[in-house]
Each structure stands twice: as C-alpha cells, then as structure tokens.
C-alpha cells in the first residue's frame, strides 16, 4: 500500500466517523428541540381552540381552531369574573415599577457591599445570609398585617414596595459581578479627583451594563409571574395580576387560560431573546463568584 492510499483510507474513516457523529449530534438536537418546544406549541394551539374547555379535546390538539378566545379575553370578562385587560395593565404597572426601584436598590447594595469596607459590613453579610434561609412565606401573615396598618391592602403599591424593598436581599450576584471589575480603574478615577458617587455613576454603571440588564430582567420577571403575594394582598378581581387570574381559572376555561398565558409569556420570551447575551454574562459572572 502506498502512502497516499493510507491517507485516503484514514480520511474515509474520518469522514465516516464524522458522519456518525453528525447524525448523533443532530438527532440529539432535534430531540431536545422537540422536548422544549412541544409543550409550548401545545399551549399555543390550545389558545386557538374553538371550544373553551379542556374536556372537549381528545389528545393534544384541538379539533377546530378560531381566534374567538383571544377576542373574548379582552371583550368578554364573563360578568366581571375574568377582566383580563385590567389584570394585564395591573401586572405591567407592578412589574415595571418594581423593576425600576428594585434594580436601583439591589445594584447600589451590590456595589457598596463589593467596593466598600465599613463597620457593620460583615454583619450585614451574615444577616442577609441568615434571612435567606428562612422559608419566605412564614412572614406572610406579618406582611398582611403590616400592609393593612399602612392602608395598602388591595393596592398595587403594596406589591411594588414589597418586591422593590426586599430585592436588596439578593445582592450577592451583583456584588460578585462588581468584584470582577478591576480596582485599578477606580484608583485612576480617584486620582483624577472623582468622588464615590461620580465613580459609581460614570464608571461603574457603564461597566456593569450586562449586570444591570440582567438584574432589571429578573426584577421584572419576578413580579410578572408571582402568584403568592398578589393572592395574599389583592382582594378585588379588578386589582388582581394576571398570574392570580390565571391561577383561578378552572379547566372549563382552559383555552382562556392558554390565551391569557400567551400575553404574559410572549413579552418575556422576546425580552429574553433580545437580551440573551447580557443574561449569560450576568449569570456567569454572578454564578462563578457567588
């Protein structure tokens, strides 16, 4: 056998191996895609189902399709039982307000905890750690009474205060990110005479953009999809958020549930796809450093 023949044979074996590898890889990819896509597809199709109830369909896919559920969602609130439009604007209000306030608070906390050494820093660190280990809703009875005392029951503002006010407890991720910003940058700015506030505004914030985006996103999605606190604090159906409303829907209104879910899921999905790079950055930085 000549040398070139050996190489040829080797090449052939290589392409063969590669072909097998490719087949396996793509089979796996297709399988995984179906695995993740199918339930979503099922919900989307269910929202277009002509008959509203889960029991009218055999198997996964509705027998007849129509847009009616989407029209009903906004025009027919079943005598005030499911005022979806109101729920949606409530949710948007709560989520965006908590997002803005919560992000400010948690970024500040993370930054300060990362960059400053001061008396009480260690105790703050330990206290937040300990607080995080208590089961969250054990305080629910207390929160209910506190909000009642402030006259905030049945008010969306109660939720905003709660979400934004407790957000700083999760500062560790942000702190981890700020820890990775090299201190030489700060020192240079310091020599230039910038004060701490300026440094934060002019240097830290622009550098922390991925973290900022990630934080804002998590601060938005949490109120956007929380059920427990709104269920506790909001009484009137008109005041509910979408999550509470969807939770209250019985199987007979299954396609209403599915259609309602679309409006709550689609904006988030779009946001995630637009910001996926920032999310990965934010997550990784925070995760590695903890």
């Amino acid at each position: 056998m000549s040398g070139s023949a050996v190489i040829k044979k080797r090449k052939k074996r290589l392409t063969f191996r590669r072909a097998i590898d490719n087949t396996l890889t793509y089979t796996a990819l297709v399988f995984i895609s179906v695995f993740f896509l199918f339930p979503c597809l099922w919900l989307v199709l269910a929202s277009f189902s002509k008959s509203g109830s889960l029991y009218d369909t055999r198997g996964f896919f509705p027998s007849a399709y129509s847009f009616q559920t989407f029209v009903d969602l906004f025009t027919d609130d079943v005598n005030g039982l499911y005022p979806y439009g109101r729920w949606f604007s409530n949710t948007l209000y709560v989520a965006s307000m908590s997002c803005v306030l919560g992000t400010v608070l948690v970024i500040l906390t993370g930054y300060v905890m990362s960059r400053f050494r001061f008396k009480g820093r260690d105790s703050i660190k330990q206290i937040t750690l300990v607080l995080g280990m208590f089961p969250g809703f054990m305080g629910m009875a207390a929160i209910y009474i506190i909000m009642a005392q402030f006259g905030l029951l049945n008010r969306l503002e109660a939720l905003i205060i709660l979400y934004a006010g407790t957000a700083p407890l999760g500062y560790l991720l942000q702190k981890g990110y700020f820890d990775t910003i090299p201190q030489t940058i700060y020192e240079a700015a310091r020599i230039d005479g910038a004060n701490n506030f300026l440094i934060f505004r002019k240097i830290t914030l622009p550098l922390a953009k991925p973290m900022l985006v990630y934080t804002a996103l998590t601060q938005f999605t949490w109120p956007w999809s929380d059920v427990l606190l709104p269920r506790l604090l909001l009484k009137n159906r008109e005041q509910w958020t979408v999550a509470v409303g969807l939770f209250s829907m019985p199987e007979t209104h299954f396609s209403r549930f599915a259609a309602g879910s679309m409006f709550i899921a689609v904006p988030i999905v779009i946001l995630f796809f637009c910001l996926v790079k920032n999310i990965v950055n934010g997550m990784t930085a925070g995760a590695i450093k903890g």
């Binding site: 109830s53 889960l54 209910y144 029951l153 049945n154 159906r237």
Partner: protein, 488 residues
Amino acid sequence: MKKLCLYFLVMFLALSFIVPAMAESEMYQRVMSRFHGELEQGAVVQVLENATSIELGYAQQLIDAFNAAYQGLGVSAKIMDIDQYSDLATDGPYGYGPDVWYQANDILMKYATKQHLLPLPIFDLECYPHTPRDAWDAYKMVMYDEPFFCGVPINVQSGMLFYIESMLPDDWQTQWDLNQNGMPDFFETFTALYAYSKAVQENGGTTKYGYLDDLVDVYFSFGYLFTGGAYVFGSDDTDPADIGLAKGDAAKCASMLRQWAALMNNTEALDKAFASAAYSYLAQGTMLCTITTPDVKQMFVRAMINTGSWTREEAEADLKMIPVPRLPKSYDLTGGPWQDTITDMDNLTTQTIMMGGMNGFGISAYTQCPNASLAFIQFAASFPQVMERNRMLGISPARGDAAAEIGKDDATVQMMFDNLDNNLIYIMPAINEMSQLWTPGESFLIDLCTDAFRSSRGEPELYTTIEQIQAALERMVQQILDAIFTLS
C-alpha cells in the same frame, strides 16, 4: 263566675303575649339591637355571590332589581368582585370583605361560630314562615347559651341525577319500563342503573357509559353511608368527639361504591375535577347520566349549546334533573335480578339519603350597614327573586311557596323540597369541625375506589370483604378525630 272567666281570659291573653316575648330574651334583644330597621343612608351593600351565579348573569340581575326597588331610599347594592371563597376571618378585621355573602351553610357557619357573621332576626323576616324549620336549622348555633341563626336559606343543594332525554336508548319504553310509569327503570333504582350501565359498556348504546361520576367526592358519595344509618357528628351533629361515619351499615353501603368503581373502570371517576368535565361529557354522550347539584344546571345547558346540536330552548327542554335512584336494601348492586327492585320496589329498596347543603345569605360582622344588608337579603329571599334564581340557575328553592309554584311544572323541585322535609337530605353540620371531614373522607373514597384497579396493576386488592371496608372506615374516623384534636 263571670269574673273568674274574665280573669282567666285576661290571664290567657296576657300569657299568649308574654310567651313569645320571653322567647326573645334580653340577650337576644341586645344582640339584635343593631337591626333597628332604619336604612343607613348612602350605604352601598357589597354582595359576594358565587362564581356560577355571576357567570350566568343572575347576580347582576339581582343587584339591578334591588337598586331599582330601593331607588330613592338611600341605599344601593353592588357585586363584590373578590374570590367567592374569601377569608372573612383575615379580611374582616382590616375592613375588607363583603357585607352580604352567599355561600353554602358549612362555609358560612365556619365563620359564624367565630362571630365573623352576625346572627339575624329571622323571625321578623318575610320569608321566615315560608321556609321549613330544617332549612333554618342549617344556620343554627348556640351562643351565650341561646340559639341564634346566622343565615337566610335560599336554596337547597343536594345531589340530583342529570340526563338528556333524547339520549335515552330507543328501546327504553319496551325494555326498561317494567312498571310502566313513564320513568326509565334505570333512573328508579341503583340496581337497575348498574345493570343498564353494564349493558351499555358491554354492548354499546347511545352513550359510552350509563352512569359515570366522580365517586371520590365526599359530598355525593357519603349519601351511601347515610342511607345505611351513618352520621357525621353525634348529638344532632353538634358533638365533634362522636363521629358516626363507620356506624350502622356504612361498610356495606360503601361496598356499593367499590362496585361502581369496578364497573366504570374509568380513572376520571377518581378525580374531583370530573365535576367540571361532566358538562361536556354529558352533552357529548360520554355518559347517559351523572349526579351533581342543581345550581350548575345551566352549565350543562351551555355545554349542550356548545356542541352545536341544541339551541338554548331545545337544550333546556331536553336536559332533565331528577332525584337520585333508590338503593337496594341488600346493599349489593348485583344481588338478584334488577327487575325485582322495580316490581317489588317498596320491599327491596330504600330511598337514598343524600348529603346536602343549604345555600343562603349571611351578613358580615364587620359591616357598616347591617340594616341595608338585611334589606338586601329580604329582597333576595323574596318570592319573585327566588323564582328568578330558579329560572336563571335551576336552583331548588328553600321557600315552600316558590317550590310549590315551580313544582307545578317541574315536579323535581317539589320533590327536593319534600326530601328536605322528610329528612332525605342530610344537611351539612353547622359546626366548625366539619371542615376537617373532607380530606380524610376523600382519601378514604379514593383508596376504596382505586381498589378496583389494583388487580390489573398487579397489586393485591385491599377491600374485598365488608370487614376490610369497615376497618378502613374506622381508620378514616380516627383520621378525622386526629385532624380535629391533635393540634387543638
């Protein structure tokens, strides 16, 4: 002599005035003093109705009618758009929650026993003489050593058999009407219904199943136990330490539920979610009949319209609601030929006692307008409004005159009313501990009914003998006792 007669007459008259006055003790008057009859000017009565009544539009109709009738009197009413199972105990003290609340008596009484609902001056209400004593007793509780009533009964809730007339088998008049009374035999005794269901499932018919139901729902299935002589709490349902669910022939009766589960051989019967599936299933012909409460009648009608085969009028005429069949005295659905239970009905069968509830109105103890609220309840409990509630929702009224009026066209409603009078409806006990019954009860029913599936899964069957079922019932009773007393 004349003087003496006069003297006795005066005495008699005086006594006849004093006796009713004595019934209204000082305590009673103190408690009722807030109901002085003057409407609170500008009050808006917040009314919490149940979801079905809102969905079908009755609640709004009621509010509109009240507002029209009380126009110019300074009060109005409004639907409160909070969840129908509001927790008055946590909301009330902080100023939230309804003024007037429509619910089943067990839920209302759960709050009343802790004083979150007000006792009502029922003897002064227009509906008092028209409503049987049993209905009022569903809201009775003893406080300060005196009986008080915390609700106004509107409608009787109890299991009824629903079917669609046009779905009956073609040959029912020749094959299934032995006594020639115009009622299919399989709706008259459970033995016959079992035989019919078996025939349908084996040979096919207009529907896939004869009778299909969620057997694990305590509310409907415990009727079997009550028919066998069981009871919930002792001393007229006031003593939580005495639970009588394993008493009498309860175990034998429960074995019939297992027979049903084996015949149905359908796991949906093991999930309470079936209740909401039932509307579609009946309309689609999955089953010929099922048992549920009258207040959801219109949900069936809606499901029938949704299939496209009925118009509203047709659906309303075609859907039938009748009392549940009789149970065999042998407590065995397969014991003997079904024909005997029809021909010798009185000797071989007994009337089924169903668990029932009394839905009605209560007034929150946190209300600022008790008199306006009472006025609203008076209005809602009035004859025309009860008639309207029946028309729009299909409920069975607790008012005798309304029941009699509707009974002219719809014998069932009158029957339901009579059942209440004849103690064939076991009204849910009005004590707080009742809330601990449901979960252990359901757990027992699930365990019992799943037994039918165990052999096909290769597991040993657990409830083949009456003794085993008896032991399971006793375990359930112990669990209820545990739930009531462990942490109290």
